[in-house]
């Protein structure tokens, strides 16, 4: 059944369809509607979940971790400053191997106060051990959350599903809602092996010396490695059941492209228009969306970039003192390609500034002509 919903409500509905059992959340613009709708679902008896009102995002994730550790399917949603406040618990969640799912609405951090989109909030959580998905459409949001629960519960690694503020959070789009029966088939109830059980008491997260801590991190990395294969299986199963195809990366007219744009989030959809416009002019542009950022799809990125004349990475984020964050990841992944593929960094759209199809065509052309300062701050007013 198709419904016209905002990205925020796609998140609320996804948590309901995925049968999240505990939702602990604190409202923050632009995420507020997510929480509002979930609390209404629970209050109206449409969703069989416990909704916990908490006093901060730190507590929201702490409560979700507690619920997950007790064997419940736990969910929360936040944005920007709220995610930053969760940071300590982000580590706790993944190291405790609690398969919590979070929706994060990408919003620029202050000061100055901003409510518009930028990826620095979620990318600042890059090294916390979480899986990260970046969504292009509200359909992508709904489907990614359902998939994320399955992947997380298989590999015991929490997932963050990321969507752009306003461009998705507050924009209504038609979204195909999967049948509850089929989702239940796809996503059976979570059965954790290592959960809190009063009849079989254990200490969780107790002091662990250097002789074992190291091995625990090795296992978390192995779980990320396993997640790649699990995702590929989950994507196949999802396509079979629901008819929608997903990948860890999603190339668009990339095979015969000479120049490739690497994009994430909503600019991935703008990039498709840019590619079509460029092809009309006879410019062989292609694009690839990085949908899953962690575990980073190194091999897939390498293959899609092989043989290209130039690769232009478009970053709506910045690692101060270095480069765009996707750029360093992409360049690292394709470093040993033979022959070498030149890769260029374009910073765009910080603080929610618009990224147009025209910008992306021109970025592609600049990369073809090797016009880049690595990084180039595209359109910065000097």
């Amino acid at each position: 059944m198709k419904k016209v919903v905002t990205g925020n409500h796609a998140v609320s509905f996804a948590s309901k369809i995925a049968r999240a059992q505990v939702v602990a959340a604190y409202p923050i613009t632009p995420q507020t509607q997510v929480v509002e709708r979930i609390s209404k679902f629970v209050a109206d008896g449409e969703m069989d979940a416990i909704f916990i009102k908490v006093e901060s995002e730190h507590s929201a994730l702490a409560a979700a971790i507690g619920a997950s550790a007790a064997g419940a399917r736990a969910f929360t949603a936040t944005s920007s400053q709220g995610l930053a406040l969760m940071h300590e618990m982000m580590h706790w969640c993944s190291y405790a191997r609690c398969p919590v799912v979070i929706a994060n609405i990408n919003r620029a951090l202050g000061p100055p106060w901003s409510i518009w989109t930028e990826q620095n909030d979620s990318l600042a959580q890059r090294d916390t051990g979480w899986i990260q998905y970046y969504c292009e459409s509200n359909q992508d949001v709904l489907d990614s959350i359902i998939q994320a629960f399955k992947v997380s519960e298989r590999v015991l690694v929490p997932s963050m599903v990321v969507l752009d503020s306003f461009f998705l959070s507050h924009t209504s789009e038609p979204v195909d809602f999967p049948d509850q029966d089929k989702v239940d088939e796809f996503l059976p109830p979570y059965k954790g092996e290592w959960v809190i059980d009063p009849d079989n008491p254990h200490t969780f997260g107790g002091l662990t010396g250097p002789d074992k801590y190291y091995e625990l991190h090795y296992m978390l990395q192995q779980a990320h490695k396993d997640a790649e294969q699990v995702m590929d299986e989950v994507h196949k199963e999802y396509e079979k059941l629901f008819g929608r195809k997903y990948g860890r990366i999603e190339p668009f007219m990339a095979d015969d492209a000479e120049v490739l744009l690497v994009v994430s989030g909503t600019p991935a959809s703008t990039a498709k228009q840019a590619v079509i416009d460029a092809r009309d002019e006879g410019f062989a542009l292609g694009s690839v969306k990085i949908r899953v950022f962690r575990p980073f799809p190194r091999e897939l990125v390498k293959e899609v970039c092989r043989g290209k004349k130039a690769v232009a990475v478009v970053d709506r984020n910045y690692s101060f003192g270095n480069q765009g964050i996707f750029f360093t990841e992409v360049r690292d992944a394709i470093y040993d390609l033979e022959p070498r593929v030149p890769v260029y960094s374009y910073i765009t759209g910080l603080g929610g500034r618009d990224i147009t199809a025209e910008d992306l065509v021109n970025i592609g052309k600049a990369a073809e002509k090797k016009e880049c300062d690595n990084p180039t701050w595209w359109g910065v007013k000097l």
Partner: protein, 94 residues
Amino acid sequence: MSKEIEIRGVKDMPPMAVSLGLMTVNKTGSWRNMRPVLIAEKCTACSICWKFCPDMCINIEGDLPVFDYDYCKGCGVCAHECPTGAIVMEEEMR
């Protein structure tokens, strides 16, 4: 009763830090640098030390306190609280 669990590597480990056994085999008293020692002649059997030990390592046997050195951390709270100075802290020799 739990027995000692040998963990050689990841194959023996659960994916997260979770206790596999009981504290009966994890004798945390090995951290101790100072050990409380009772001077029985000074002790009035008031049990104040028993009440204050933060690690519940003092048992009253007969009337007098007995330290459980398998778990006592050597914090010295008991010695500090003892009104008659019947507990002295001595350097742990291992």
